[in-house]
Symmetry: C2
Subunit: 183 residues, 2 copies
DNA sequence: ACCTGAACACCGTTCAAGT
DNA sequence: ACCTGAACACCGTTCAAGT
């Protein structure tokens, strides 16, 4: 990549990170280009779709979450590993306004730039889920997709109103309780 | 209301019902006006905000759901009444694409045209909830707002992908299970 | 190879002018 | 009283013209 192109790409990412943090996944791409002091066409050249931009913003975070799943699997007991990881995931999915919907949609759309990351999260969560189910701690009829959907739904709730965000940990406990196997 | 105004209002509602059913709560208001063969200003005169239009579209449904709560309370055992009603509510909240977010936001925004209806649903659900909690069937730390949020979240999940819609009854069972009191 | 911004086809919302 | 549509300030996306 030419150095001026690299520089533009970086400027776009910095501007997008700020604007998306402020206004959510639906932030105006024109605003992003303006803030980056870059032509609108330049933004589209580097990131043909909004998802491409989001994927670039979230790449690191998803990497870390995947590694975190492995670390928890190795150190914590199965149920603890699952609930801790899910909790961290819900925090990550709530990073941007509108992100939970984008993630849940991307999981079911192989063409989305976010698909690979979502698939990775589903797999990482699925491994922790299987281990907990093996130990008879979690209902056997819960699938990795169920887990991904519920976790995003919890992030979505917290995203709808500040009052609900305060209630978020409690709702997390309620939902997780529903996944537990009954003695 | 002048007869021509009444006629315009009705035309707008018919057009909006069709378009919102097709494209969701974010359907273009311009399209609604065009389909109703009405000037754009006429639409805004009858429905100053998008929520006003949605409220008019949903009024009947909410009335029925409120009555339904009373009927179930009188005829079914507490837990059955609660789960049946919640199930019907989730179906109603999934009537339009984007509706769950609008409802959850409106519950926390007294100025929204949808607020009264949401408040009514929260109260209706809250009564069924209290009865089930009285019987020791549901965890005492579940609030009516928790219930409203979770029900809308379930509708939201079903709204994100057809695959998830198929999984909707199962997810409903999982979440409801989390609300049950443990022996 | 890469950048730019005008051009196009859309929005939501308001409001002067009409009947 | 009520209706209309032009006007305004925005979008997302594409693409010819430039370096």
């Amino acid at each position: 990549m030419r150095p001026d192109a690299r520089r533009n790409r970086d400027r776009i990412l910095v501007a997008a990170a700020a604007l998306v943090a402020e206004q959510g996944t639906q932030a105006s791409l024109r605003d992003v280009a303006r803030r980056a002091e870059v032509g609108l066409g330049t933004l589209y050249r580097h990131f043909p779709t909004r998802e491409d931009l989001l994927a670039a913003l979230l790449g690191r975070r998803f990497e870390e979450l995947a590694e975190r799943a492995d670390a928890l699997a190795a150190t914590a007991p199965p149920e603890r590993a699952l609930t801790d990881w899910l909790h961290e995931f819900t925090l990550g999915a709530a990073a941007f306004h509108g992100l939970p919907a984008a993630l849940l949609a991307a999981l079911h759309d192989p063409d989305s730039a976010l698909h690979a990351s979502c698939d990775r999260m589903r797999t990482a969560g699925g491994r922790l889920l299987a281990a907990a189910q093996q130990g008879g701690l979690i209902r056997p009829d819960v699938t990795p997709v169920d887990l991904f959907a519920l976790a995003n739904a919890l992030s979505w709730i917290a995203d709808q109103a500040p009052t609900l965000a305060e209630r978020s940990d409690h709702l997390f406990d309620l939902v997780l309780d529903g996944l537990r196997a009954r003695g």
